[in-house]
């Protein structure tokens, strides 16, 4: 954890996952989808585009559950306009996140997080990371188990701050 600092472990049950499936891999598709969402003020997070295969790709992201009906309407419309194969939704999810500073400098952090979840039998549906957070989307029913696993895994860092050195 040299050069980085883990500060918090957080769970959120406020998001829904949306996947636009079988999107033609051509310029302008992502602009179409997210411009439409922006027009209705639907905020998105953790946008993930899969590897293209055969000219087709998947586009996944999260929205707040409060904005789900707007998102459903807009994503369906966008999917039709770009001739995507379909859109799937999942509300029974939770985000478990590690928050801190310079987390991308901690080479061992993702591996430790994923291994801790795996040991507890928690399957990861999506992963997103940046310098301030590392987030996994898991089934809502597995959220408590996931949080317990992460607390166990990283307890020593909170109990012994000298193990972390953001400088």
């Amino acid at each position: 954890m040299r050069g980085s600092k883990l500060e918090r472990i957080v769970r959120s049950r406020d998001e829904a996952r949306i996947v636009l499936m079988g999107v033609p891999d051509v310029p302008g598709v992502a602009a179409t989808v997210f411009s439409a969402l922006a027009e209705r003020d639907v905020a998105v997070q953790m946008i993930v585009q899969n590897n293209m295969r055969g000219g087709i790709t998947d586009l996944a992201f999260l929205v707040h559950k409060d904005q789900l009906d707007d998102a459903i309407f807009l994503c369906r419309q966008a999917a039709e306009s770009v001739r995507a194969q379909g859109v799937s939704f999942n509300t029974e999810i939770a985000c478990v996140s590690l928050y801190g500073q310079n987390l991308t400098e901690a080479a061992d952090l993702p591996g430790r997080m994923f291994a801790a979840l795996a040991r507890s039998g928690v399957n990861i549906q999506m992963i997103g990371s940046n310098a301030l957070s590392l987030t996994c989307v898991v089934a809502e029913t597995a959220a408590d188990k996931a949080i317990e696993a992460l607390h166990r895994e990283f307890l020593e860092l909170f109990e012994n701050p000298e193990l972390q050195d953001p400088q």
């Binding site: 302008g28 602009a31 411009s35 009906d69 379909g86 799937s88 999942n90 029974e92 029913t141």
Partner: protein, 329 residues
């Protein structure tokens, strides 16, 4: 030989719709795409599959249902099979009651017609599709689009396409992460049904078709009631025995049914779809099963052919990118 990739976009289907056991089916706006990338020598095939079910599928052409249906259609029509390489991009959940296998049958038969230049009429294409599938209630709407009433006597097919769903009606399909084996779904059904239950379903199926044909959508909840298969098949997946009653009581839900032989449950919804969808998925969660849902419309056009792939990029003159230029970001 020069060849422009040929893509077949083939819709999911929901069969039975409650009372219409083995006779009603509706095409939905969720699509498998099958792409013929190149032509090969006669009887020489290659295939790849990505997406739903890819883990269960091999890349062995002899195991591929599109190719086996293609070969069967060629045999029935006395054609020498042109070989090809095929990509299957599957998004319709596999073995969940949304007609995934029917998309392969429809695509295979349509390809046999197209690649041979045979120009087979619609009735014969459907007859062969039904012959291969064994029943018409998925392949008919899959190929034709819309809601289709069909009857099959083992040799011949009769069908009627009903009007499309109204613009404000969604089909919410909740798909639990469990499979119902076809063998179990068949064995769950009774060999005989009480006369009263038969009469019950006869009335409901007739009401469903009449209501749909005359667009009296408020009658669908009655029309979709069933005593022939749903009471037995709902026991085959977690939450199945309670989900229908729970969903039916939601405002906006005008009808609910097990899709095909399950475990997917479909609800016809007017207004905001998310309360119904979340109720369905919450029920599955409470019974220990993960799930996802789709908010679909009826698919009016059925299977479509596209003679280029990938599709064209969105065009600026169609209004794309406007928000980005407007500076909201």
């Amino acid at each position: 030989m020069s060849w422009v990739p040929l893509a077949l976009r083939v819709p999911a289907t929901s069969a039975n719709l409650g009372s219409g056991f083995d006779t009603l089916g509706m095409a939905l706006s969720l699509y498998n795409v099958f792409i013929v990338r190149e032509l090969r020598e006669n009887n020489d095939f290659a295939c790849t599959a990505v997406g739903e079910g890819a883990f269960d599928l091999t890349n062995d052409p002899s195991d591929n249902m599109v190719i086996s249906s293609y070969l069967k259609a060629c045999e029935l029509w006395g054609l020498t099979p042109q070989g090809f390489s095929l990509e299957c991009h599957n998004v319709i959940p596999f073995c969940r009651g949304l007609g995934s296998s029917s998309t392969a049958v429809v695509a295979g038969v349509a390809l046999a017609d197209r690649l041979s230049g045979r120009r087979t009429d619609e009735a014969e294409l459907l007859r062969v599709m039904t012959l291969i599938e064994g029943h018409p209630d998925n392949v008919a709407p899959c190929f034709l689009g819309g809601m289709v009433v069909s009857c099959w006597d083992g040799k011949e097919l009769r069908f009627v396409k009903l009007p499309p769903l109204p613009e404000d009606m969604y089909v919410v399909a909740a798909v639990p992460d469990v499979r119902v084996r076809t063998h179990d779904a068949r064995n769950a059904l009774p060999r005989d049904v009480p006369f009263g239950d038969a009469v019950f379903n006869l009335g409901r199926a007739a009401l469903l078709c009449a209501a749909w044909a005359t667009r009296q959508w408020d009658l669908l909840s009655w029309g979709m009631d069933d005593r022939l298969h749903q009471p037995f098949r709902s026991r085959l997946f977690p939450g199945g025995e309670v989900i229908m009653d729970r969903v039916r009581s939601n405002t906006g839900c005008v009808g609910v049914a097990i899709s095909g032989s399950g475990p997917t449950v479909v609800a016809l919804v007017r207004g905001a779809p998310s309360p119904v969808a979340r109720e369905m998925c919450r029920t599955f969660s409470e019974h220990g099963v993960d799930s996802q849902f789709f908010v679909l419309k009826g698919c009016a056009e059925g299977m479509t052919l596209q003679e280029s792939w990938p599709a064209q990029a969105p065009r600026e003159e169609d209004g794309y990118y406007e928000t980005v230029r407007g500076g909201r970001l």
